[in-house]
């Protein structure tokens, strides 16, 4: 686990932009810029994510066609000016389906991660601040859940509650809780023993103030990094479940299920599988790259 260093507020350098702006010596400034700034990979990732976000928010702006409109005269048509990414087995425009599928992918990634981080944080903080018994109980529970691979846990939840988008989000979210709970607990323990918490306690702040004002904000920092990467993995898990036919119902465009159906037509239409696959890959790589870069900054080193 790379996200376990005991980061404390005292050790944290000011953000690069502030630093760069305040340093007077030109030579220093450039050094600082290249050491602390974001690389090109960050900006490419940001652009990809921006495009996906735009597609998720306003798909009709980007989609050239109706994603559900079938055209039996153009079944499995190769990429052309009319259909830039070609068409699927029912003559629907693949590019438009990818654009409209973005919302589901983002919702899945962000939604599942939000559930995992939200519940995980609560569990982690309670364990970190609670007494030995409570901590032991929560962490043993976490250990047991961690014994199952995340995807298996998600499949188990779906087997019980059934498929569908909402259930897939819940399943992946719940499956992600133990990781975050464990991380937050570690951070909470570290922050709890730090000087400034001691100081806060020393000046007589009440327990609640200390938790909400000092412990939580500082313990959550590395989680932001992990969560960014988590969005990518959650999207991938969601696409995987849809690939298995457990996600959305047809004909709703969904990247994983598009990929799944496309494999039957691999011999006839390479574009059908290639573009949904690229979309998933781009989203996952972008969030991962972004997460790594953020991590590097939080930890004070370049990625």
């Amino acid at each position: 686990m790379s996200a376990t260093p005991e980061v404390t507020e005292a050790a944290e350098p000011p953000p690069a932009a502030v630093l760069a702006g305040t340093v007077a010596v030109p030579g220093r400034r450039w050094t600082a810029g290249s050491r602390r700034g974001f690389g090109w990979a960050f900006w490419v990732s940001a652009a990809v994510l921006g495009l996906i976000a735009l597609a998720a928010v306003a798909p009709s702006l980007l989609a050239p066609h109706d994603p559900l409109a079938t055209d039996l005269a153009a079944v499995l048509a190769p990429p052309s000016a009319e259909h830039v990414f070609g068409t699927d087995e029912s003559g629907r425009d693949i590019a438009s389906r990818l654009v409209h599928g973005a919302r589901n992918a983002v919702l899945l990634g962000v939604g599942a991660t939000a559930i995992a981080v939200g519940v995980g944080s609560v569990v982690g903080v309670i364990a970190g601040l609670g007494n030995r018994l409570l901590d032991g109980l929560l962490m043993r529970l976490t250990d047991v859940s961690l014994a199952f691979p995340e995807l298996l846990l998600a499949l188990l939840i779906i087997a019980v509650f059934g498929g569908g988008t909402l259930n897939v989000v819940l399943a992946i979210g719940i499956a992600g809780i133990p990781n975050y709970a464990r991380l937050i607990r570690g951070q909470t323990l570290a922050v709890r023993r730090s000087g400034y918490v001691e100081a806060a306690r020393g000046i007589g702040l009440n327990r609640r103030r200390i938790v909400t004002g000092h412990v939580l904000p500082n313990a959550i920092r590395p989680v932001i990094v992990l969560a960014t990467i988590g969005i990518g993995t959650a999207t991938l898990a969601g696409a995987g479940l849809s690939f298995l036919g457990l996600g959305v119902s047809p004909p709703t465009p969904e990247w994983g299920s598009m990929l799944s159906v496309s494999r039957n037509y691999l011999e006839l239409a390479w574009w059908y599988g290639a573009f949904p696959g690229l979309a998933i890959t781009a989203l996952v790589i972008s969030t991962t790259t972004m997460g790594r870069q953020l991590q590097a900054r939080v930890e004070g080193r370049t990625g």
């Binding site: 498929g163 119902s249 006839l268």
Partner: protein, 551 residues
């Protein structure tokens, strides 16, 4: 890139040398072999089917589309269906039917010996009927096919007299289907429960092993000497040393297993790959009709708005079935033109003509039904309710789902919404059994027009006590009477007349939308010869098949 190309050239060169070496000497290349090449014995034929594997190897207990193919090698039936639809004796030589249609006297073939050495006698046939109807067998299909069976009496060693509770015209025909395979009398008498894991019959191949989820292995039965005359190219034992039937769920994997030579033959060729098989130099492709009811969308009449025949007619006319079937099957399936497959007895041509794709006609039907208003999304509304149809389905039935997706898109044009929901097997089955759905899809393969009774008779509607086969919840008195009479009439011509009327009646009440015939789509390597089919079900039959030396 250049380097890659060169490497490719070298590889191709090597392949040619290897092929020449393999062919070197005695045998001629497969492509030059004439059609009348002499069959040779030997070799194991490796076959791949889709995922529909039996749950038990007791043929009478099973009911899936692959089962007749899987059980035919091990089990013979009483009769064999000939090319012109007649029945020829197999384990029975003949049967006499009494004038009232209630008593059947079976005269059995002499000299048949089962794989375990058991002799074939009238007592053995009696045991088989009783086994199929024993609740412990859980014979979903064979049980219902034999439902009118009441009792039987052994007249002598090779004569059995069977009494039915009601006249049943389909009786002898269903006895030709692989589900009614005859099991060793000795096994049934001593340990009927062992049939599930170790099936013993009298067929041209005997069972060797079954690796669940993977394959069933067979070997030739050397004493076999009672092949059906009209179907067989030879007498005596089969040509192949053995058979290996593999279950490969994934379409693309099954197809590639054939192309790569891992198997010699596949059924369920993915329609999208059929053209590549035809174009291939060393692969062959053949289709064979399955009789019965075409693949259809079942319209649940018990669930409004489908209780209104005008809505059902509107939905039917709104569908461009030609285009749907052409698209989904890449032109490999034929559009159904009626409620029976043409190879079924009593089939009447072109009964669906009045439901040709006609959007104006569809709109008229739906307007007439009172669904005249439209909501913001363009769907029809009546009394504040949207005209919406619910299709609960499974995730892995790609083609069924694609059909309904295309139907959804076409029905939208006439203001009818279709809601598709992917569910787990249990959830979907429960909803369909309870009638909570509007649309379901399926096919029923059998060699008699009695399939109309199975699919549309009101007595076949599922009740709390009994799971029925009528998925449309049709309960039409006139239709009920026609198909009941068709079932009980022994006169062939009279029966054909009744079934013609029944098919006519179906076009008036429209309980389903027949879509296409689903033939066996078989692809195989050209070193495999004499592919044959059992017409009672349209399944592959391996008795004639042989592999030449290049395989």
């Amino acid at each position: 890139m250049a380097a890659l190309k060169r490497a490719g050239g070298v590889l191709a060169g090597l392949a040619i040398v290897a092929a020449a070496a393999a062919c070197g000497g005695s045998t001629t290349p497969a492509s030059e072999q004439s059609a009348d090449a002499q069959p040779v014995s030997g070799g194991v034929l490796k076959v791949a089917l889709n995922a529909w594997e039996p749950t038990k190897l007791d043929p009478q207990s099973q009911g899936n589309s692959n089962d007749p193919l899987i059980f035919r090698p091990i089990f013979d039936t009483l009769f064999w269906q000939t090319e012109d639809g007649e029945l020829e004796g197999l384990l029975a030589e003949s049967a006499d039917i009494s004038d009232d249609g209630l008593t059947y006297t079976f005269h059995l073939r002499d000299g048949v010996t089962f794989h375990d050495g058991a002799e074939w006698t009238a007592e053995g046939l009696k045991l088989n009927f009783e086994h199929a109807l024993d609740p412990a067998t859980q014979a979903v299909l064979a049980g219902s096919y034999l439902a009118p069976y009441q009792s039987s009496e052994v007249i002598d060693d090779l004569t059995l007299e069977v009494t039915l509770s009601e006249p049943y015209s389909a009786f002898l025909s269903v006895l030709a289907q692989g589900y009614l395979g005859i099991i060793s009398p000795q096994q049934l008498a001593e340990a009927p429960e062992t049939v599930a894991e170790n099936p013993i019959g009298s067929g041209p191949f005997r069972f060797v092993s079954w690796t669940k989820g993977e394959k069933i292995v067979y070997e030739r039965y050397d004493d076999y000497d009672w092949a059906p005359e009209s179907g067989a190219t030879h007498t005596g034992p089969a040509y192949l040393d053995g058979l290996e039937i593999n279950f490969i769920a994934e379409d693309s994997v099954r197809y590639n297993a054939l192309v790569a030579g891992d198997v010699d033959l596949i059924d369920w060729t993915p329609p999208q790959n059929a053209q590549s098989v035809r174009d291939s130099e060393n692969l062959e492709f053949v289709k064979f009709d399955r009789p019965g009811h075409p693949y259809a969308l079942w319209l649940n009449e018990s669930n409004p708005p489908l209780d209104d025949v005008l809505v059902r007619k509107g939905v039917f006319a709104a569908l461009d079935r030609e285009a749907i079937v052409e698209t989904v099957s890449f032109g490999e399936w034929e559009v159904a033109d009626g409620f029976l497959v043409p190879s079924t007895p009593a089939y009447v041509e072109n009964t669906n003509a009045e439901f040709a794709y006609d959007v104006d006609q569809a709109n008229e039907f739906l307007d007439e039904a009172g669904w005249t208003e439209r909501d913001a999304e363009g769907y029809r509304v009546r009394d504040g309710r949207r005209l919406s149809l619910y299709f609960p389905t499974l995730g892995d039935v790609t083609q069924a789902n694609q059909i309904v997706e295309l139907a959804q898109s076409q029905l939208k044009a006439v203001g009818v919404e279709v809601v598709i929901e992917v569910l787990s097997d249990d959830q979907q089955q429960q909803i369909v059994a309870d009638g909570g759905h509007h649309l379901s899809a399926g096919i029923w393969t059998t060699n008699t027009a009695d399939v109309l009774f199975i699919k549309y008779h009101s007595s076949e509607i599922t009740t709390p006590e009994r799971r029925g086969t009528n998925q449309t919840f049709t309960a039409d008195a006139e239709l009920d009477q026609l198909i009941s009479q068709g079932r009980s009439t022994t006169d062939t011509e009279e029966r054909a007349g009744l079934y013609a009327q029944a098919q006519e009646r179906l076009t008036e009440i429209v309980p389903s939308i027949p879509l296409y015939y689903r033939p066996s789509l078989v692809s195989y390597h050209d070193y495999v010869h004499d592919i044959a089919f059992d017409r009672a079900y349209g399944n592959l039959w391996f008795y004639n098949t042989w592999k030449d030396a290049t395989g």
